[in-house]
Amino acid sequence: MQAIDRKLLRDFKRLWIQAIAIALVLACGVAILLTSVGMYTALSETRAAYYERNRFADVFVHTTRAPLSLVPEIAQIDGVLSVEARIAGDAILDLPDRIKPAVGRILSYPEDTAPVLNVPLLVEGRFPNPVHTDEVVVNAPFAAENGFRPGDSFSANLKGQKRELTIVGTALSPEFVYTIGPGALMPDNSSFGIIWMSERAAAAAFDMTGAFNEISVAIASGMSPEPVIDALDDLLKPFGGLGAYDRTTHQSDAFLDAEISQLRGMAAILPPIFFGISGFLVSMVMGRIIALERSEIGLLKAIGYSNTEICLHYLMLAGLIAIVGVLLGWGAGTVLARSTAAQYAQFFNFPFVIFRVSYWVYAAAGLAGLATTSLGAAQSALKAARLAPAIAMQPPAPPRFKRSFVDEAMAHLKLSQPTIMILRSLLRWPIRSAMTSLGLALAVSSVIASIFINDALDEIVDLAFYQTNRQDAMLLFSDDIPETALEDVRNLPGVLQAESQQYHTAILHHGHLSKRVAIEARPPDTDLSRVLDADGKPLIVPPGGIVLSVRLARQLDVESGDVLEAEFLSGRRETYALSVTGLVEQHLGLGAYMDLEFMNTLFRQIPQLSVANVTLDDHQMDALHRAIKDLPKLSGIIEMNDNRRAFQDTVEQNVVVMNTMYIVIAVLITVGVTYNAARIQLSERARELASLRILGFGRGEVSYILVGEMMLIAVIAQPVGWLIGAWIAQAMTNAFTSDLYAIPLVLKPATFTVGSLVVLCAAFASAMVVRRRLDRLDLIAVMKTRE
């Protein structure tokens, strides 16, 4: 090994704590880049492969009932490649060993051929034999969650007819990568299953012989779905078409897509911050090293090392830091990616796992890490290369301190000499102080941007479950039933209170903007499911009016008082003008609300309901569950407590992981920045501080100069960190907002306090670690060494 390389390794060994502190920050960047890009590509490639292999459709539409003779006509639509028509319906399931009812989505499976689109992938067993109408295939997660094997059976309430069904196989489908039951907030595979039965059996159960109520089409690649959607809507209008939609509105794909774009956002925002900070730290440390090694650089030049060799020598020092950081990052990234993949495996049902981060992602993340540290070291390395050898041999001129108005001010304030030293040093290196402060501010902001989510979720849960939806359960009916049936619901065992509600699918138009929504209609005096205004008072929707959630209103660009057109896709499919009488803040879904009586009048129908909201007596739950399994027309039940708990559990579990991760990240950044800054301080001021000690200053006073300056920088960082944190939180709430949900921006003082505490404590601890070196300061040696 060449002597100069040996110098490199020894220098690295001497600097190892500083190097590790930087490498850890770099490792965060590499790990997050690895995870986000790796998972992004894995998830999008897995999705693409799955959709391709199992021919996921492009456009979907539901109708009430359309004749099969329509299918060839649909196939004629310009751009349509293939068509799959089927029968679909929800049913209450009675599963052995399960008291609570479950909900099944029943889908017809063609008899002679396999489906051409949305092809289910058989996991186990076989597809149903059309001759045996009791045979079904269920989705694999549902089977796994309930312990079903082929040969097991359960019963289903098919439009009031209780039927015993036998499982002959399990399958997965590209339509149900994210499988979520009606009205649920989180997937729960134990209470919601997909059930494929032969066409014949499904037609009999849902009274659909010769007809279908769901259609999927594939369109030519690269073609816009809009014309096909319009053509489908025209064709299906007479048959109760509920409006065709493309993949962006498809529930499973929309969730997948939200996750994928979140990963993309993460890849774009976070790693650059870490790389930036580690680049800055490298440049700070290298700058100091080169200042210290001036005469060594001069010597190397004097004995014939070229500028390039010297430049490379210092770049390689940064390169070693990068190597450590990249290796750590690869390790951490692999673990992080694996846990993310495990999380995806829990949420998303893919038949094959390509959750492996490709080698090119490792290479790219490694190169990015190497590039940033090299960039950080470049300035110093070039400076070393440019240093004229004759000059390098002379000691550097002492830094020039100039008197400024600040000094006048300090003189007036009668500050102590150590305090003046602190302030003067801050001003002497304004850019470095500012960058150090910025690094710490980013650490503060990382904590704030992550833990505000806790309060945001509390608010979501509070508003959704404790303020607006106070019912214990929602009973969903397959068709609208007469309101008189509410009496029957009240008579069910354990039901204390029952209120009716109706859902109608409609397209709201305002100007050129339109949005397909489910309008909720309810009596004016409901006590359970309510719409609240900004002050928390129940909002009454007057006849002829409509109340919209703020996000929906924004999408349609309407304000309170505006008039919009509601094109109903159910009932008589008429279009009415409605005036917006109020807006409500809402975090889940895009709500639109009307008066139930007015709705019945509009539809010229006897009072009807789609949903019964009920409160329940806890002691009679089992009796109730037994009773509703046989309730005709009941297609689903949402138990609000389960729903809330599923939401809180899953989300909170993720939030805890995220909070921990970001706090660790903040600590790493703080330690990386503070430790290095303090070490550089100490190195620059060793002589000065030793002189003070010789002059009779105590350890405490000398430590005060060192730690004081670091803490002053840390304190200055706080308000900046609060601002950046609030800004990132704001950006996150915007980024996470979709039709499905919105995260409210809830910033409490406690959030800022936690952010500041984490960073100030970590900064103080790091500064104190460096301070310990002051005790070991060899006064005589320091004074003797020539800088």
Partner: protein, 235 residues
Amino acid sequence: MSEIIFRTQGITKVYDTGEVKVYALAGVDLELYKGELTVLLGPSGSGKSTLLNILGGLDHATDGQVWFEDTELTDMSDRDLTRYRRDHVGFVFQFYNLVPSLTARENVQLVTDVAPNPMPAAEALDLVGLGKRMDHFPSEMSGGEQQRVAIARAIAKRPQILLCDEPTGALDSTTGVQVLEVLRDINERFGTTTVVITHNAEIQRMAHRVLFFQDGKISETRVNRDRLAPSEIVW
């Protein structure tokens, strides 16, 4: 005497510090001969180091010309100067300038790694009497020893010229004498042209020739007919 190895003609060096121009060298003409041990003597600030740096290819003259044998150094690019230093020149500085993170042997290897025809590092250290301390770090050696390591490092490449800027400046008399002895030994054994800067008038007595420096110029040249051995010098 023998061939000329260095020749300068009217070299000047001006430092422009903004407010004032400092004439570090104000027209220096000199000739140095192969194998000669020359002492540059003069008060601090008289331009000795500046001259040595220009001869050694560490710095450019503002004006004038410098020849090393038949090559003119004055117009050389940085790259060529590096090559020149690497191949021909050995430096010894007042503050030794050892790399603290390298042992004595490794400090010498810094040179032998890049020089075209070096001697083994161990041999160079033997020559300066440090054969037994090769694996010590600079911090484990006295000033005199460190300076001898620096000399070993300078001679390991078998340079044609050895340029020493106040090599005893930071040493006491006894260790200084040891260092001077090494220098004279090298000069005699290898015939290495040696230039020693000093402001210590006593040291001139070991030289073949003494150049007196004053205000950036050579004020006087003296040839020593009777040279003293370093051990006879005291200060």
